[in-house]
Each structure stands twice: as structure tokens, then as C-alpha cells.
């Protein structure tokens, strides 16, 4: 996207019917560290890449518990994400106070989307620069929503946002049809694998990834780093095994055909 004369205010339309400030806000989401979410019929998993600005600092918190039955993972301006998480927690707690029961997830995301929409229609505000993956469970089942700065929200079986999320999306697109039947552990494993895809070569360790899960009999919580490392190790073992067989196959096939250039 290039600068143009219609992109100064969020309240200025372009002749093509676009609000450039809103689109620039969505760019901010794409620059943030990756976050993925996957859903089965009984569980929802969120996973994020923990990017630290330097080796000396700790990483920023990107996964927030909103209530026992709802959690969010954010990507983009983490400060905006923190403020929105506080809003979400407030809405849940107010509902629970009046009705003694958990706020249905779909109603929460609509409130969040309406809040984001306000910022796209006021000259003295700017859109929130954060995308949220909202994972929740209510009496209508398990849900995964994506709320974007434009004020739109969508429901997903699985989704990925942030930098290099396309690699994760490609991975998820191949597998999402069977997610509904996945067990809790299979879901976590695929989430970790999806995160691995976004790293594209970089080593995946439990130090640079956060995984959280929520389920029918499981309140939203972050998974212990040790368990994540075990899952990462088990994924790596599976990958190393075929790699050992490959060199032998090369010798067998190199007699006649030219090597493939992919």
C-alpha cells in the first residue's frame, strides 16, 4: 500500500470506497508475532510466538484469560490488546454478577466488534491496532472467533494471524476438516506444529511459544512450559526419523534421473 491523499483521517473515504486508516490498522496486525487458534467440538487451543525485543528482555504477554470459559490471543499493538482484554474481562464479570452464569461467547465478540467499529467512525479516535483470536466455550459449544480492527468478526475452525501466518494457515487448511474429532492432545500438537510452521527454519523451543487450552471440563489456562517442550520434542523425533532414511534413497535413485529442482 502506498501513501495517498485519502489516508490521513479514518473518517475519509477513498473514491474506491476504502477506509485506508482501517486497512493500515490491519497491517499492524500482520506485523505482530504470530498467533494461531484451533477448535474441536469440545476444546479450543490458542498458541503464540513469544517475540522478545532483545535477549536481555522478557517477551510480551500475548495470551490473556478473560474468564474461565474464554481466553484471547492477540497480534499487533500489544498495548491495545491489553486494554481490550481488560474490557473483555469486565464484560464477562459484569454479566456473571447479574446473571450468575457465563457470558455466551458470541455475545462477547459482538460487543468487542461494536467497540472496534466506533473507532472507525470518529475523527478523534484511531482504530485498535490489534487482532484478537477469541476462544470460548458456552452452552452452544466450542467457538473460535477472530476480531479485527475493522470491527468485523468471523468464526473459524482454525485460524492464524500475525507475521508469517500464511505458513500456519496453509498447514491448517490441509487438516482442519478433521479437527472436530481431534482429542485434546492432538489439538495441542497441531497448534504447536502450526506455530513451528510460522518460524520457518528457526528452532522451536518452549521458551519462545505459549500455548493455552480450554475445554468442557477444563477452565482456560496456559499449558506448562515443560509439557510444551515434551510435545515439541515428540514432533521433532517424528521429523528426524524420515530424514535418516532419505540419504539411502538418494543413492538408489540418482543413477538415471536428474535431481528434481523444486
Amino acid at each position: 500500500m502506498f501513501r495517498n491523499q485519502y489516508d490521513t483521517d479514518v473518517t475519509t473515504w477513498s473514491p474506491a470506497g476504502r477506509l485506508f486508516q482501517v486497512e493500515y490498522a490491519m497491517e499492524a496486525v500482520k506485523q505482530g508475532a504470530a498467533a494461531v487458534g484451533l477448535r474441536s467440538t469440545s476444546h479450543v487451543v490458542l498458541a503464540t510466538v513469544n517475540k522478545a525485543t532483545s535477549d536481555l528482555s522478557s517477551y510480551q504477554k500475548k495470551v490473556f484469560k478473560v474468564d474461565d470459559h474464554i481466553g484471547v490471543a492477540i497480534s499487533g499493538l500489544t498495548a491495545d490488546g491489553r486494554v481490550l482484554s481488560r474490557y473483555l474481562r469486565n464484560e464477562c464479570i459484569n454479566h456473571a454478577f447479574v446473571y450468575e452464569s457465563p457470558l455466551p461467547v458470541s455475545r462477547l465478540v459482538v460487543r468487542l466488534a461494536d467497540k472496534a467499529q466506533v473507532c472507525t467512525q470518529r475523527s478523534w479516535k484511531r482504530p485498535y491496532g490489534v487482532g484478537l483470536l477469541v476462544a470460548g466455550l458456552d452452552e452452544t459449544g466450542a467457538h473460535l472467533y477472530y476480531n479485527c480492527p475493522s470491527g468485523n468478526y468471523f468464526e473459524y475452525q482454525a485460524f492464524a494471524i500475525g507475521s508469517r501466518s500464511q505458513a500456519a494457515k496453509t498447514f491448517l487448511e490441509r487438516r482442519f476438516e478433521s479437527f472436530n474429532n481431534y482429542s485434546r492432545d492432538e489439538l495441542i500438537k497441531d497448534a504447536v506444529f502450526a506455530i513451528k510452521e510460522t518460524l520457518q527454519g528457526e528452532k522451536l523451543t518452549s521458551a519462545i511459544c505459549t500455548v493455552a487450552i480450554l475445554g468442557k471440563d477444563e477452565a482456560f489456562h496456559l499449558i506448562d512450559q515443560k509439557i510444551i517442550q515434551e510435545i515439541i520434542d515428540s514432533i521433532e523425533i517424528k521429523e528426524d526419523a524420515p530424514a535418516e532414511q532419505a540419504p539411502e534413497q538418494d543413492e538408489a535413485g540418482s543413477s538415471g534421473a536428474a535431481p528434481m529442482d523444486i
Binding site: 454478577f97 447479574v98 446473571y99 458456552d138 452452544t140
Partner: protein, 244 residues
């Protein structure tokens, strides 16, 4: 949220800047009895509205369905009950407008009412009612009570007003889990009869309502058979000979 402020701005402000509030009830309903049975919850009340000691109105419906899953019965000030029905009507309307598969069950309605009653009490402007909220949702039976000061609880059987003193002891002795509908009605009528004999604000015109997973049924008003031929009722001043 709008709904809560609606329920709380009812103290009227008079011309000279002072506020008026409820101090005593005018038209009142007497006891409501509720109990759980096998398929759901059963609730009964008479259809009388008393104006002090006068039995002024004889066809007041004091039990109403709320949404798909709940029944609300009220004793106390009838106009406050009608106000509560208005609030709940709006609550259910907004809930239905979401059209998203979620719905407010009896537990949620009970808690909402508790919040409303307690808030009004804190402003010294109570809704002068004792409410019985019963319902069934997803196979779960629910029966609770809220009083005018916000005290709330759940139980297998509840009663308001005189019912607490005359009906609950009978229920404590004879209620058990999984009553059939016929057994529950019989037990209910036993309690209603005692109230009819002993509560001066009770009239012989009752409605019995039931709620199950399928829905709500409120009976047409009917009367119970009474017997006044007890020998002790003959010559009532027999024991008081000598009083002027």
C-alpha cells in the same frame, strides 16, 4: 447497561425536589407455593388481590411464564409485580433478539431479579414482593425465591408469606424426589386447603402452573372442596360463656 438503569430510576421526584418512595403496599396477593417434581416444577397461588383487609379483586393472575424456560409467581404488591413483569419482558425480548442459540434460563432470571430487588432495597424504595422463580432448562430443574430485601435461595420446595408457616411444614414432611404430576398436585392442594382455611386473605380460586422441558401450562382457575361441618365450629361461643 440500560436494563439495570431502567429498573432503578423509579423513585419519583416531586415538584419541591424531594423524592417519594414505597413505604407500604396497597393491593396485595397472598401466598405462592412452589415445588419440584419428576418432570419439572409446579407452582400454585390463589387469584385474590386484597386491598388491606378487603378481598377486593378476585381474578388476579399471580403466576406468569417468563421466556421459554421459567415461571414467576409473586405475592405482595400487585403493581410492583406488574412492573417486574415489564422489566422481564424487556430482558427476554433482548435475549430473543440475539437469535443466537443462547437463552436466559431460570437461574439467570432468578439472579437478575435478585440484583433488581437488592438494588431497590438499598435505595429504600423496595419492590414489595416475594418472588418464586421456577423453571427447567436442559433437563435441569430450578426453583428459587427472592424476597423484597434481596434475600435469595434455591430449594426443592418454597413458599411465600403464610405459606412459609402453614405449607412448608407439610412439604418438609411429605415432599420427596421424583413426585409424579398427580402426586404433586395432590400435595399442592393439601397445602392450598390449609391456607384457605387459615389465611384470611386467601380465596377459594386457585391456579396451578407447571413447567417442564416442553413448556409452561397454567390451569384455569378452580375451587377446592371445603368442609365446615366440624363439631367445634358448632356453637362457636360455647367456650367463651361469660364474656360480656
Amino acid at each position: 447497561m440500560e436494563l439495570q438503569t431502567l429498573a432503578m430510576k423509579d423513585a419519583t421526584i416531586v415538584d419541591d425536589g424531594t423524592t417519594e418512595r414505597t413505604s407500604y403496599p396497597y393491593v396485595t396477593g397472598t401466598s405462592v407455593i412452589g415445588m419440584k417434581y419428576k418432570e419439572g416444577v409446579i407452582m400454585a397461588a390463589d387469584t385474590g388481590g386484597s386491598y388491606g383487609s378487603t378481598l377486593r379483586y378476585k381474578s388476579v393472575e399471580r403466576i406468569k411464564p417468563i421466556g421459554k424456560h421459567s415461571l414467576l409467581g409473586a405475592s405482595g404488591e400487585i403493581s410492583d409485580f406488574q412492573e417486574i413483569l415489564r422489566y422481564l419482558d424487556e430482558l427476554i425480548l433482548y435475549d430473543n433478539m440475539w437469535d443466537d442459540g443462547n437463552s436466559l434460563g431460570p437461574k439467570e432470571v432468578h439472579n437478575y431479579l435478585t440484583r433488581v430487588m437488592y438494588n431497590r432495597r438499598n435505595k429504600f424504595d423496595p419492590l414489595w414482593n416475594s418472588l418464586v422463580l421456577g423453571g427447567v432448562k436442559n433437563g435441569q430443574k430450578y426453583l428459587g425465591m427472592v424476597s423484597m430485601n434481596g434475600t435469595h435461595f434455591e430449594d426443592n420446595h418454597v413458599a411465600t408469606g403464610f405459606g412459609n408457616h402453614l405449607a412448608r411444614p407439610i412439604l418438609r414432611a411429605e415432599w420427596h424426589e421424583d413426585l409424579s404430576f398427580e402426586e404433586a398436585v395432590k400435595l399442592m392442594e393439601k397445602c392450598l386447603l390449609v391456607l384457605l382455611y387459615r389465611d384470611r386473605s386467601a380465596i377459594n380460586k386457585f391456579q396451578v402452573a407447571k413447567i417442564t422441558e416442553e413448556g409452561v401450562t397454567i390451569s384455569q382457575p378452580y375451587a377446592l372442596k371445603t368442609y365446615w361441618g366440624f363439631s367445634a365450629f358448632q356453637n362457636p361461643s360455647k367456650g367463651a360463656v361469660g364474656s360480656w
